[in-house]
């Protein structure tokens, strides 16, 4: 964990002055932010704007997880990456871009696909986790790791012209499994390659996700720990949905959990976390 400092430097006061004058943040919130570490799972359409605003705001450390390399079809929405970084690691491309915005933020790239053997250790090393992934097995994996490690999970997703956002496992609220105890049948799951996505839709969701991370990190708290935000870009409408409470019978966060260690999530979901074949077929 990062040390909680007791004062800001002159340059920090200048850099963050517009946040410091906000009573909701103030010097105290800024110091908390600089002591906070956030694990960003996925440096794609959600992870890019999220990490961008967290770095700009002065989060202490950002862990950037992505096993993939930058491709041309990413650039319409993954705004930290550049033409000059095509073919390089997304985690490293993101870290490089973030350092140019704010060199004081520790950006740690992890060039790996989060798995049952790596997830728990990594999640334990951070204060807040942002799920910016793009597949079902990773969403269950990250959820279970966050429950087991006791970390709040800020989760967003986007597809076509829609987006969803919720915070799981925070202040006694439900976890992802409380809402979705069974994974969806694989044939009902659409990814961004098949279904497409308008790039700014994950941009909006990733920014909203960053806001909730910042609210948690500074101590403002979140309004989505038992609620979901649902966005319809075509109509420009947001729905604010009240969700069920934590399920005492939940397999992972319940009172007598059956899941006490990470599982094989690809088998559980019947799909792969790193499947690219359908994406390649399209081109």
């Amino acid at each position: 964990p990062l040390p909680l400092r007791t004062e800001l430097s002159r340059l920090e006061i200048q850099r963050y002055s517009r946040q410091l004058v906000l009573p909701e943040t103030g010097v105290r919130g800024q110091l908390r932010l600089s002591a906070c570490s956030v694990l960003v799972v996925g440096c794609g359409g959600l992870g890019c704007p999220l990490a961008q605003y967290l770095a700009a705001a002065g989060v202490g450390r950002l862990g950037l997880v992505d096993h993939d390399v930058v491709e041309l079809s990413n650039l319409h929405r993954q705004v930290l990456h550049r033409e000059s970084r095509l073919g390089t690691s997304k985690a490293r491309s993101a870290a490089a871009a973030l350092r140019e915005i704010n060199s004081a933020v520790q950006c740690v790239p992890y060039e790996l696909a989060l798995g049952r053997d790596t997830a728990l250790q990594l999640v334990r090393a951070y204060d807040v986790v942002a799920d910016c992934s793009d597949n079902v097995p990773t969403r269950y994996l990250v959820n279970d790791a966050c429950v087991l490690a006791g970390k709040p999970l800020v989760s967003a997703s986007a597809l076509r012209l829609e987006g969803q956002l919720a915070v799981y496992g925070y202040r006694g609220g439900p976890c992802y499994r409380c809402l979705f105890p069974k994974p969806p049948p694989p044939e009902t799951v659409t990814n961004c390659a098949d279904g497409g996505v308008l790039g700014v839709v994950p941009g909006i969701l990733g920014s909203l996700q960053a806001l909730e991370v910042l609210k948690i990190a500074t101590g403002m708290g979140t309004s989505f720990h038992q609620a979901m935000l649902i966005f319809d870009a075509l109509e420009g409408r947001f729905r604010h949905i009240k969700l069920r409470p934590r399920n005492p019978d939940c397999a992972v966060c319940g009172d007598n959990p059956s899941v006490t260690a990470l599982q094989d999530y690809e088998q559980f979901c019947g799909s792969s976390a790193t499947d690219k074949c359908r994406m390649l077929c399209l081109l």
Binding site: G45, S133, D134, P185, V189, N191, V197, H240, K242, R244
Partner: protein, 101 residues
């Protein structure tokens, strides 16, 4: 006898693709001996609105995993799930969970 009910159904997150891509359906549920609940609504949707591949929407007598049901802007679990008794002018939303990023 339950009187006919006029309700609004909405599908989103991809679930609308099972309904010709139409998101909003203003429907009238006919008069029937039992009160209308979500269980009988699902059977009615399967019979009257679902064109093909019903297993992508219903499994057994409930919605398939990964579809969230909202009754008047609240998670259906807070409302009694399948047993919720529909009221005239209710709004019921079926939304597929998204996983993309």
């Amino acid at each position: 006898m339950a009187a006919p009910l006029s309700i609004q159904l909405e599908f989103g997150g991809g679930a609308e693709l099972l309904f010709d891509g139409i998101r909003k359906h203003q429907v009238t549920l006919p008069s029937q001996p039992e009160p209308w609940d979500i269980r009988s609504l699902l059977a009615w949707i399967k019979e009257n609105l679902l064109k093909e591949r019903p297993e992508l929407f219903v499994q057994g007598d409930t919605v398939r995993p990964g579809i969230l049901v909202l009754i008047n802007e609240a998670d259906w679990e807070l409302m009694g799930e399948l047993d919720y008794q529909l009221q005239d002018q209710d709004n019921v939303v079926f939304i597929s969970t998204l996983h993309g990023g």
